[in-house]
Amino acid sequence: MNPFVMFAFPFARHAFLAASFVAVAAGWIGFYVVLRGTAFAAHALPKIGFAGASGALLFGVNSLFGVSLYSAIAALGIGALAERDRRDVATALVLALGLGTGALFLSLGNLYAADAMSLLFGQVLGVSSSGVVETACVSAAAIALVVAFHRVLLFTTVAREAALVRGASNRTADWALLASLGLATSAMMPVVGALLSFSLLVGPALAARHLAHRPWQAIVQSIALSLVITWLSLFLSFALGWPVGFFVACLSALAYAAARAISRALGRKTQAGAA
């Protein structure tokens, strides 16, 4: 079957566009997540966003608004707590609180299982044209944040104190990345869902890290991989009827494993060459 048949349907075109924006944002932001080792926060925020979305359903407001508000509060909370305590502890605490209120919203709201499922696993084929515009704007904002703080994020990661002397503070970098992650979460939720957006944030970036030597190379590779994974997943999901998130998770893991194997093979070659 020719997979391009799917573009005959407007909902498929919307899905393709929304997923592409999300893929670029995830690949780009994922670079900094992996660089700074904030994978746990990247894992926690979408789950907290899920709680926000169930709250939005309960109160009858736009679910993207619910996700954004909840992720923003969570990002601020993690940032504030992490100044006193270790960040993983802060993240775990905020995650637990977020999920707790999410459970409450779900039970109070008498949500249908289908609603919860679409939040957890995404419902990319249900994205409307206004949804595409929303996704594009939120993704762009998330990317704009990390682009603005690109050098500060790098500098504070590799030389925290030297960076501070020059006026680049690690705290600023942390806040910028958390805020960007919160935005990206809101954009990703309707597309890949709360449970699996983590894999798109971390998988391509981890794979790129094994192959790239310079930051911009790693970013470009991460975005490219993220796009390929997302497109492939969409086609497969369209063809087989299985959830998009399943393919995203599997392909991300596969990309990481392949990149490791390639970099190890390359390493062995240079070693052999040197010997």
Partner: protein
Amino acid sequence: MNPAISFRDLTVSYGSRTVFAHLTGEIRAGQFVGVLGPNGAGKSTLLKAIAGLVRPVAGAVEIDGKPVRRRNKAIGYVPQSVQLDEDVPLTGRDLVGLGLDGHRLGFPLPTKERREAIDAALAQVNALHLADRRIGRLSGGERQRLLIAQAVVSKPRVLLLDEPLNNLDLASTHQVVELVKRLAHEGQMAVLLVAHDVNPLIGRADEILYLANGRMAKGALDDVLRPEVLSGLYGYPVEVLRAGGRIIVAAGAMDGHAHAVSSASPEASVMLP
């Protein structure tokens, strides 16, 4: 002209613990000062106070006659230990570039001036061959030289190096000390270099700043590394032994044999005949 670094009545505490109190001194542009003292004496703390990273409870630091502040392009700082992930996708060139404009917003523009500034800094530390290597996979000494390049690429007035000689073999130690001396004398930088062993500094550092027991002695090497001066600092008898052009600082002449007290390398004491 104002001294490049001056500190008056400087007192730093962590909580209720005072590390040192009422230190006063100045370092002129072009001067290379070696900072010595036992573990925990406050050498790193002094550098951080000068860099504006820790706030003194009393006293003040001035850089070029102005109170020290953050966002200071006039200061190049290399901390005591820098940990890096093996896979971090940054080359030597990227690392040095951050010293030039890492505090700015956005991506760096690949201009000719930027490239030349980075190349010049790499050349100064003999690390041009490391420009395209990934920094996570360099040896301790190679990384140390890149970090010095990162600190000097913006042509600071003040260079603060915290134990840059750790992990270096004898040849690299002398290379780095010579390099630092050249940066001070030719680049007119005021340099503070913390070291564990005085010997590599003999004949190269212009002055020694010796910290012990919350107090400080500063002056020419031969004026500071004297038994009466160091005994005054430590508060108990200290001997300064010289053997074959090397210096060993040792404590406790009382019980008949000497124990090394940091600074002049303890391992050197076993090299005595």
